[in-house]
Amino acid sequence: MRNLLTLLTGVVFGTGIALSGMANPAKVINFFDIAGSWDPSLAFVMGGAVIVTFIGYRLVLQRERPVFEPQFDIPTNRRLDVKLIGGSAIFGVGWGIAGFCPGGALPALGTGNTNVIIFVVALIAGMFFTRFMLTRGGAGGKTAQPAE
């Protein structure tokens, strides 16, 4: 049951991404192209997702623990640092160039689309490259917060 419901959670996420347009780079880039062929649709994706999550988290986090785990695993770091801001800035540049973000591309991978595969291979290469550089740099890799 635990595994089946986890799988179902992935199905709901993937279907949401497919319906929302987040897996479509043309739509994503147009959302940011206010000076050109602007398509404001993606504001509705983030709006809908944040409102549902905001309300849902408030209900769920009143529980002692999640259904299948001994405790909630939620990031506690509250520090704004150069790594967070610099990393997010670089992510935005990449998102603007390619039009895919990880959450949009992973469900789209299920279609076997060549462009999605190319993006995800580059994405994983970038993740491993960064992890390697951080680990080589010493403490950075070890103290790094788990990604959200």
Binding site: S20, K27, P102, E148
Partner: protein, 143 residues
């Protein structure tokens, strides 16, 4: 390339994304961030840790096919950029989400929903740099 304004489909998709985030917190106590799920699946802490991530990813891959059942076609994946740009963009996204500990789903949805100051800062930053990048690529360099 023009795309049509789809407020209802996009809102519906957003609601499903939010629902999945709430389900994952309710069931497994985890943040529904694509970056975190993928990074952990590639370097799992244990077999148990790998299993839930792999199941979640497997479920995600079926999303476009569930969409097909209801909509009658697979979702559009129109890529208005070159393969070189996909590679450069993908590599930069990989660097950025690793350093920044998250992406649109982790920071933009889950983090903002739990009012995390880091996620607000991250989301504000990447929305800004994405917008600047799209402007430069489309209207300055004309790619």
């Amino acid at each position: 390339m023009e795309t049509s304004f789809t407020p209802f489909a996009s809102l519906g998709g957003g609601i499903l994304i939010g629902l999945a985030a709430v389900m994952l917190m309710f069931l497994r106590g985890r943040i529904m961030g694509a970056t975190g799920v993928l990074a952990g699946a590639l370097r799992p802490a244990s077999r148990y840790d790998w299993t839930w991530r792999a199941l979640l990813l497997l479920g995600m891959f079926t999303g476009p096919w569930v969409y097909l059942v209801f909509a009658g076609s697979l979702p559009a994946i129109d890529v208005p950029v070159s393969t070189v740009m996909l590679l450069i963009g993908g590599f930069l996204v990989g660097i950025g989400v690793t350093l920044g500990s998250g992406c649109t789903s982790g920071h933009g949805v889950c983090g903002m929903a739990r009012l995390s100051p880091r996620s607000f800062a991250a989301t504000g930053t990447f929305m800004l740099t994405t917008g600047i990048t799209v402007y430069l690529v489309r209207h300055v360099f004309g790619a």
